[in-house]
Symmetry: C2
Subunit: 151 residues, 2 copies
DNA sequence: ACGACAATATAGCCATTGCTATATTCTTGT
DNA sequence: ACAAGAATATAGCAATGGCTATATTGTCGT
């Protein structure tokens, strides 16, 4: 509102503007990196499991079509996360491996934390797949502390 | 992998395929409704606070440009969440009000839960803005239980 | 009453993330 | 060796969510 009839001090529903702006900005940012994180994490897992990460396997795991994967892999290669040999599987660069490791650890902490709260493993897995990308370092630490306390 | 050299029973890094597919599907779904939820919630808050929700205020709060808001409002109107009078603020339909109420409550629970974990209010606010959209009913209940336990 | 200014509308651009359809290339079994 | 099938590449489309620039419309103060 440009002109507020009721002064802010009456504490309406509205939250501090600057914090909210920053929250939305941060969320938009996380949304932009979400897919990249899931891809490198999945690629790392596929390589760890079967020695290679092929487009068909990635597509199947993600539940999307193969050309969708092909396009994203090009982007990941352009951004230096993976290396692609035509008609071969993809491999992670050092940078890709780092991001994969960070993502995997964060993912695991979030999922474990949800399980520790008594949430069913299925739901924990589903929710963690989304939540992981929006958890800050501070929140991750809090999750870890909570897990340690129950350890 | 079409042909696995190591049988699944050796329990590699890879998680059950069907659950993972479903997790990614669910996450993509939540991502699609994320913005809509934030818009109606914000519109409800602006109306509660100042009696009206104008494009400029929405744009300012979200940290985006006014035409971005104008386009989204058309979509919200088309989907029956709001009513628009040209050159006037927007108003929520019954459907819009319902979604706003649900979103606001869920948002509040997530933020309170994070605070209860000892996370700073600033971080809790930022993280909750993203996390809220990926929290299932079951997880929300677990958060509520945890909050109740802390009295 | 009307000119300034504020708010909204519209046009046109771009990036992202999905899709289908189809062409190309690799691999494998006979 | 080579045909069939599997995997990858490419083309072209659509929806979404951003942006800037600009036109139109309301509102308010004098
Ligand atoms: Mn993940
Ligand atoms: Mn994920
Ligand atoms: Mn919200
Ligand atoms: Mn939000």
């Amino acid at each position: 509102m440009s002109i507020k009839p009721t002064p802010e001090t009456f504490q309406g529903v509205l939250v501090d503007a600057d914090t909210q702006i920053e929250s939305f900005r941060q969320t938009r940012n996380s949304r932009r990196t979400e897919l990249v994180e899931d891809y490198v994490e999945l690629i790392a897992d596929l390589i760890a499991d079967g020695g290679e990460a092929r487009q068909v396997d990635i597509a199947h795991r993600l539940g999307v079509a193969q050309p969708t994967v092909a396009k994203m892999l090009k982007r990941l290669a352009a951004e230096g996360f993976i290396q692609q040999k035509p008609y071969r599987g993809v491999f992670l660069t050092a940078r890709g491996n780092e991001l994969a490791a960070r993502s995997r650890e964060r993912h695991h902490i979030v999922e474990s934390f949800l399980c520790a709260l008594g949430i069913s493993p299925e739901t924990a897995r589903i929710d963690a797949e989304g939540i992981e990308h929006y958890v800050s370092a501070e929140t991750l630490e809090a999750f870890k502390s909570h897990l340690a306390k129950l350890g």
